[in-house]
C-alpha cells in the first residue's frame, strides 16, 4: 500500500492511495491517515489506484474522514473503481461523503 499526499490550491490536501486496502493495507496507512486528518481542512482522497476495499480498509478511510468533518472540514472521495464504489455504497458512505469521478466537481465541493 503506497500513500502520498500533496497540497492543492485552496487549502486542499490530496491523498493518493495505491494498492489493496485489505487488513494489511489498512494497517499500513492508519497512522499516517490519522496524522493527516489532524491537520487537513479539505481532504480529497484519491482512490483511483485502490483495487480492493475491505472492511478494515473502509474504516481506515472513515475514521480520519469523520475527524476532518468534526473539525468543520470537508472530505470528498475521488475515482473509486467499481468494486470499491460498491463497497462504499453498500455501507451508505456516499450518503455522508460525496463520491466523484471527475476531479473538477470534487475540488469545487471542497472549495
Amino acid at each position: 500500500m503506497i500513500m502520498s499526499s500533496e497540497s492543492l490550491e485552496g487549502d486542499i490536501t490530496r491523498v493518493l492511495l495505491d494498492g489493496r486496502l485489505d487488513i494489511e493495507g489498512a494497517a499500513e496507512i492508519d497512522l499516517r491517515m490519522n496524522v493527516l486528518a489532524g491537520s487537513a481542512k479539505f481532504l480529497l482522497v484519491d482512490l483511483r489506484n485502490v483495487s480492493f476495499l475491505g472492511s478494515m480498509g473502509l474504516r481506515s478511510l472513515m475514521v480520519p474522514a469523520q475527524a476532518v468533518r468534526r473539525r468543520g472540514g470537508k472530505v470528498a472521495l475521488f475515482g473509486p473503481v467499481p468494486m470499491v464504489e460498491q463497497v462504499l455504497k453498500a455501507s451508505n458512505i456516499d450518503k455522508v461523503i460525496p463520491i466523484f469521478h471527475e476531479l473538477d466537481p470534487a475540488l469545487a465541493v471542497l472549495r
Binding site: K89, S91, N92
Partner: protein, 579 residues
C-alpha cells in the same frame, strides 16, 4: 547418620591467597586450628588462624560448632558464635574479623544416582570442581552445563543462570559472577549476580566495569583485566571499584552461535549479542593463570544457555497465546446456537466456518416475546481475538431484544456506543430480521449484504440500497423494512466470506454464483441446500486458503395453523403434532 554410599559431611576451606581444600569431617569432635600440636584434625598452616580455633561435635540435632578461642571470633553466616550452634548445609564459617579465612560446611549427602542430574545441578559439589587439573574441570563443567540445558523446561531461568554462574565463579576462583543481558535500548544490565559459595547478590547493587564490558563486546572475545583501577575512566564506576576493592575482572561476551559448537566461531564476527558473563575478584592478577580454553568453554556454554532460554521464552509465549485463542474459540462456539431448533413457522439450518482460530462472524436465532422469531447474521470487521470480543458483545446486546425493544433504537444505541469508543477499532455489518407466524418479516439492515430470497425457484435480493454498518459512521441512522413471506419461501443469509471466497487466481465467488447455486438447489431440503451451496463454494475455490470466515444461515417459512393459534399466548410453543 552419613549414608555410606553418599558423600560424608565435609568442610571446604576458602582462604584468600590459598588454594581451596576439601576435608572430610571424620572423627568427632573434629578440631580445627593452626598446626597439629593441639590434636587438630584440620591443621591449617596459616597465621590468621589460632592454634585452637573451632571444634565440630555431634549433638542430637546434628553437628554443631564451638569457638575454641579464635582471635577475632568465629561467625556462622555473619552471626558470632558465642555458644555452640548447629551447622546446616552451606553455612559460611568465618574465622576472625574479616572475610579472608572462611570455611563452608557441607552436611552429609545421600548418594546421587547417575539419573538424578537435577539434584546434582541444584547442589553442585563445588569442592570437586576445584580439585584435579583443568582438563578435569573442563569435562566436569561441560557435563554439568549440558545437563543444565537439557533441563531447561523444568527449572526457572534465573536458577539455571545462578547455577551457571556458581560454576563459573568456582572454576575461575572469582569473588563474584554476573550475567548481563541487553535491555530494550541495548545496554547490558545485570540480570543475576552470585558471590562465592552460591551466595545470592542483588543485581541492582552490582556495578561492573563498563569499560571492560565495552572492550569485550567490541572485540567479540573474552577480556581479562588485571587491574581495574587503571581501566575505568568513568569516575562513578572507578569509585565503586575502589570501594569494593575490586582488582581484576574477566568479561566473556556471549553471542548466539548455537550450532557451531566451536568456541572460536564466536570470534568470526557473526551472531547477535546475547549478553555477557562478568567475573571479578578483589585480588590483582587473580585471573592471570586462567586457561584460555576454560573461558571459551564457559562463554560457549553460557551463550548456549542464554540462547535456549530465549527460544524457550518465545515458545512459552506462543503456547500461551494459542491457549488463549483456543479459549476464545471455545467460548465463541458455545455462544453460537447449538443444534438449531426449528420453530413452528420456521425451519432453520446454518453453518459457520472460521478461517482463523476465532472470527468475527456470527448468527443467532431466538424467540421474541411477541411470538415472532429473531434471525440475525453479523460480520465484525477484522479478524482474531479483537473481532471475537466485539462479536460477543453484540450477541449479548442483541439477545436482550428477546424481552422486547425496538431493534432500530438498539442499533442506533450500539452505533453511538462504538463510534464514541473508536479506539475499539472495529465495526459490524448486520442483518436483523423478525419473522411473525403469519409470514410478515420485519428487518433492520446495517451495511450487510442483502439476504437472498428463494421463492418458487426464483432468487431475488431483499434490498439493493446500502445501509450504514454499526459503529463506523457517527451520524448513521437505521430503519425497519417489511416484506411478506409466503409459505415455502427460503431466506439465505450469508457473510461476505461466501461471496468473496477466492480461488487460486484470486477470482471471487461473487453474488452471481451464489444466486445460481441457490436456484439450482430449489426444492431441496434445507440441509441439502446448505451442503449444495457449500459444495459450490468449495468447487470454485479448489482448496485455496480462505482469508475470511464463511457463514451461511438458511431459514424457511412455513405456515402452520397451530402456530398462529398459539401466537397470542406469548412465546410460540411447538405443538406435538409437528414434531
Amino acid at each position: 547418620m552419613p549414608d555410606s554410599s553418599g558423600s560424608p559431611a565435609h568442610i571446604e576451606v576458602v582462604f584468600s591467597q590459598r588454594p581451596r581444600q576439601v576435608v572430610t569431617i571424620g572423627e568427632l569432635p573434629f578440631l580445627v586450628g593452626r598446626g597439629s600440636e593441639n590434636g587438630n584434625h584440620l591443621a591449617l598452616d596459616d597465621l590468621r588462624v589460632s592454634r585452637r580455633c573451632v571444634a565440630i561435635s555431634a549433638s542430637p540435632e546434628g553437628l554443631r560448632i564451638a569457638d575454641l578461642g579464635q582471635a577475632g571470633g568465629v561467625f556462622v553466616n555473619r552471626s558470632p558464635v558465642t555458644e555452640p550452634c548447629i551447622l546446616r548445609d552451606g553455612d559460611l564459617i568465618r574465622l576472625g574479623g574479616d572475610d579472608e579465612c572462611q570455611l563452608v560446611f557441607r552436611s552429609a549427602a545421600p548418594a546421587n544416582s547417575h539419573q538424578d542430574r537435577r539434584t546434582t545441578l541444584g547442589d553442585p559439589p563445588l569442592g570437586d570442581l576445584v580439585q584435579g587439573d583443568s582438563r578435569h574441570e573442563l569435562n566436569r563443567l561441560s557435563l554439568l552445563l549440558e545437563a543444565t540445558s537439557l533441563l531447561h523446561s523444568q527449572l526457572p531461568l534465573d536458577s539455571i543462570f545462578a547455577t551457571m554462574l556458581d560454576h563459573a565463579v568456582a572454576i575461575t576462583r572469582a569473588d563474584r559472577g554476573m550475567l548481563l543481558e541487553p535491555d530494550a535500548s541495548g545496554n547490558l544490565q545485570v540480570r543475576v549476580a552470585r558471590g562465592r559459595e552460591r551466595k545470592e547478590l542483588s543485581p541492582a547493587a552490582m556495578n561492573p566495569s563498563r569499560t571492560v564490558l565495552r572492550q569485550a563486546v567490541e572485540q567479540r572475545s573474552a577480556v581479562v583485566n588485571e587491574d581495574l583501577r587503571l581501566a575505568d575512566t568513568d569516575i562513578q564506576t572507578a569509585h565503586s571499584v575502589i570501594l569494593q576493592f575490586l582488582r581484576s575482572a574477566v568479561v566473556i561476551p556471549l553471542f548466539n552461535m548455537p550450532h557451531s559448537g566451536e568456541a572460536s566461531a564466536r570470534n568470526s564476527g557473526q551472531g547477535e549479542l546475547l549478553g555477557a558473563l562478568y567475573l571479578d575478584s578483589r585480588q590483582a592478577f587473580a585471573f592471570s593463570t586462567l586457561d584460555r580454553q576454560i573461558l571459551d568453554v564457559l562463554g560457549a556454554q553460557a551463550a548456549n544457555i542464554l540462547d535456549n532460554a530465549r527460544l524457550m521464552l518465545r515458545e512459552r509465549e506462543r503456547q500461551r497465546l494459542e491457549q488463549e485463542l483456543s479459549i476464545a474459540r471455545q467460548i465463541q462456539q458455545a455462544l453460537v446456537p447449538q443444534g438449531l431448533q426449528d420453530f413452528p413457522h420456521l425451519a432453520i439450518t446454518g453453518m459457520h466456518r472460521p478461517c482463523h482460530e476465532v472470527g468475527g462472524d456470527y448468527f443467532d436465532v431466538f424467540p421474541l416475546h411477541d411470538g415472532r422469531t429473531a434471525i440475525l447474521i453479523a460480520d465484525v470487521s477484522g479478524k482474531g481475538l479483537g473481532a471475537a470480543l466485539l462479536t460477543t458483545m453484540l450477541q449479548g446486546a442483541l439477545s436482550g431484544l428477546t424481552f422486547g425493544s425496538d431493534p432500530v433504537q438498539v442499533f442506533e444505541h450500539l452505533n453511538r456506543f462504538l463510534c464514541e469508543r473508536s479506539v475499539v477499532g472495529r465495526y459490524a455489518t448486520m442483518f436483523f430480521g423478525m419473522l411473525a407466524p403469519d409470514g410478515l418479516l420485519e428487518f433492520v439492515r446495517a451495511g450487510h449484504p442483502s439476504p437472498l430470497l428463494l421463492r418458487r425457484g426464483q432468487v431475488s435480493e431483499l434490498y439493493q440500497e446500502g445501509s450504514f454498518p454499526i459503529g463506523l459512521v457517527d451520524v448513521a441512522s437505521f430503519e425497519a423494512c417489511r416484506i411478506q413471506l409466503e409459505p415455502g419461501d427460503t431466506l439465505l443469509l450469508f457473510t461476505d466470506g461466501v461471496t468473496e471466497a477466492e480461488n487460486k487466481n484470486r477470482n471471487l465467488f461473487e453474488i452471481e454464483r451464489l444466486i445460481k447455486a441457490l436456484s439450482h438447489h430449489a426444492g431441496c431440503s434445507l440441509d441439502a441446500l446448505q451442503s449444495g451451496l457449500l459444495a459450490a463454494v468449495e468447487q470454485f475455490t479448489e482448496g485455496a486458503i480462505q482469508s475470511d470466515d464463511l457463514t451461511l444461515l438458511l431459514a424457511q417459512y412455513r405456515k402452520p395453523a397451530e402456530a398462529i393459534a398459539t401466537a397470542d399466548t406469548g412465546i410460540a410453543v411447538q405443538p406435538a403434532s409437528l414434531l
